[in-house]
Symmetry: C2
Subunit: 90 residues, 2 copies
Amino acid sequence: MSFGQTFKALSDPVRREILTLLRSGRMSAGEIGSHFDMTGATISYHLSILKKADLVYESRYKNYIYYELNTSVVEELMAWLSNLKGGTES
Amino acid sequence: MSFGQTFKALSDPVRREILTLLRSGRMSAGEIGSHFDMTGATISYHLSILKKADLVYESRYKNYIYYELNTSVVEELMAWLSNLKGGTES
DNA sequence: CAACTATTTAGAAATATTTCTAAATAGCTG
DNA sequence: CAGCTATTTAGAAATATTTCTAAATAGTTG
């Protein structure tokens, strides 16, 4: 994981909304796409960015691909931010 | 503040390093710039992004401009992330 | 006020991002 | 296996980002 990649992934509103959708559990690419007015190809692009940033992982069942939040990376981000506001120590 | 703007600001390594420098207190634009192998104009550009994202604020003294971390926005970000990993509730 | 120092702004070039359409893959189902 | 459905990949266009150089601003100090 790289913080740059992860923060960049979070900088796009579509991707943040995808993550918010995934709060309530895993969802197939098509189901995610149905929430947006964009082509499936574009959604697939955004999912690939989220996947590269380790913010989601995928699993396959039948011919669906399901995406799920990876909360551990979210925690690493929070730790980085916490350290930032944290202290005066070097 | 917009989360998009703030996460985008954090996605650049130079800007994250500037913020890390500012952990130990406020610093003038020139002093910040001396830590990087880039022109002052480029540093000024990055500082303007951080300022628009409300991650830093500036104050003037003599003909220096000092930059300082704004930790409250960092906390808002952490709250957003915490909510993301938080729960199954809608 | 004239010259100096610190910083920003403007404009341009190189690169990266986001979106689309069209085509490819891949796995399921009759 | 043939066709269907779900999803991704490729390629291209529009837009945004990052960096530089050169010039402008602005405040300080002799």
